[in-house]
Symmetry: C2
Amino acid sequence: MKTIYMIAGFYLFVSSINFLQAKPRTGEPIQPIKRPSKVNPKEVELGKKLFFEPRLSKSGFISCNSCHNLATGGADNLKSSIGHGWQLGPINSPTVLNSSYNLAQFWDGRAKDLFEQAGGPIANPGEMASTHALAVKTLSSIPEYRKEFKRVYGTKKIKIEHVQRAIAAFEKTLVTPNSRFDKWLGGDDKALSKHELTGYQNFKKFGCITCHNGPAVGSNSFQKFGMVHPYTKDTKTLGRFNVTKKPADKYFFKVPTLRNIELTAPYFHDGETWSLAEAVKIMAWHQLGLKPNKDEVKSIVAFLKTLTGEQPKIVYPVLPPSTGATPRPDTTK
Amino acid sequence: MKTIYMIAGFYLFVSSINFLQAKPRTGEPIQPIKRPSKVNPKEVELGKKLFFEPRLSKSGFISCNSCHNLATGGADNLKSSIGHGWQLGPINSPTVLNSSYNLAQFWDGRAKDLFEQAGGPIANPGEMASTHALAVKTLSSIPEYRKEFKRVYGTKKIKIEHVQRAIAAFEKTLVTPNSRFDKWLGGDDKALSKHELTGYQNFKKFGCITCHNGPAVGSNSFQKFGMVHPYTKDTKTLGRFNVTKKPADKYFFKVPTLRNIELTAPYFHDGETWSLAEAVKIMAWHQLGLKPNKDEVKSIVAFLKTLTGEQPKIVYPVLPPSTGATPRPDTTK
């Protein structure tokens, strides 16, 4: 008899927990950011070192983190990035945060994934201005790196593919879960204010959600900038056309993620817009042919700010010293 | 009776611990690096943010950490640093590690302490190229900074002095204790190899110790570069003379710390020497009129490498976003 009571009691107890537990909102067009499941901590640690490694650049001054600064939303907050010799890049630096969710990398999607992307800036004469051969020679001249690459990839000889793999592995961990919006998605009704919720409703109602959806609130399609009304501030950057060479792809860009958008001004591929309210108005007009009123814009901005998640906690790496065999940094332009 | 046994036993036990404990070597001309005793964690945290804050520069691209990189021994490992518009500085960037031990800051000692130093590069047109007014305006435009300065200094209005104080407070924590040499000083006989100990004996015997002594193994005097034989690689940089205007101070420089020296190539104020062995030979000849043989040089280099301490463990800061009132970064030269 006692056992029956116990079982019944336990059953009631468990049911009440289920009842009290917040019910996730699974029907929404936006899904929560999740931490990656399979991670090799040693590979990630090596990738972190390489991400902060200025010796991957010709000058020994520029690292991945220079333009994708993890202190400032994974971007540099400049109109366009500063490369070797203070060259100003042709396009705004996209955030590295949650970039594993991107359908492709770069604004024009010319790299299919983070692995492919990681090789780009190192050898771009306007960015890090090194070469893959020089980067590999530099790393190979440092015994600690040789040891670490061997431990992670079992290789005696460092190859640029290993460098890219390690950086990509680190970048996959750069996600920002537990934003207030994600808490709301998880069932926490108090995570959003009424004003922010109104913003989300407007975001859906006006049609922003058509392109900005999924876990990254964007990043999963290419769309024309100026779909309804042509965007005339920048007509030189052709976007997706540069990859496909199809005239119909002119001015198509990867829809950027809106996660952490409050941290990553200035906005758009041209970095011409510094205010989030202004950015919302530009999008509404050029993409949707709409002119939302001040309150509507304000509410959408309030909603967008709920997309700021927990920033990755990074212990700043200590990099191994160069040796006599390490190619010397070359700061000449 | 039992109590007496207990007391006697306890006494013997404690004595044996004392007996077994390593005896610190207190008579040496080098003393161990110590962590600072009085630290205000909130001030240090604010200082850390400012140390990594690129918005203290005109371009929004250069922070203190750009040239005093905590990933690479607190220096940039370049001949001379890269400043605004890719200007190459006139002198090698000294390490920020253990810099609280310096008798004065900069190679020529023109700043009396870390507080005074912190104001320099921000407003130097060749370095961060901002002004104190612009730096304060930038920080004041960001509510999180206003709040944090208020919490630490009780001030409603951020002043450049607060910025300097916070950066200096953070820098005071950037010490590197527990090097192998310091363990040996602490009494651990096994911390150094015979070869390294020979190096230390040579270091003392040849007279390097005359200038490189104290906890920082240097940093406590100005000395002429070329005391015995003139140094001719660089005759343009006048060092201490620039501060005192006394002809006798020409070519006098602050004796740099040798702590973590293996991490901070290239060497000397001109950054002309990349190899530590070469640096030892140059010092021996120009400062002491000596030509140590290969083995002696090797042993001194081995000893110098035992001065690498525990690098500060830095959790990379997350910086608060700019607002509409924040002055925009200006990347023009």
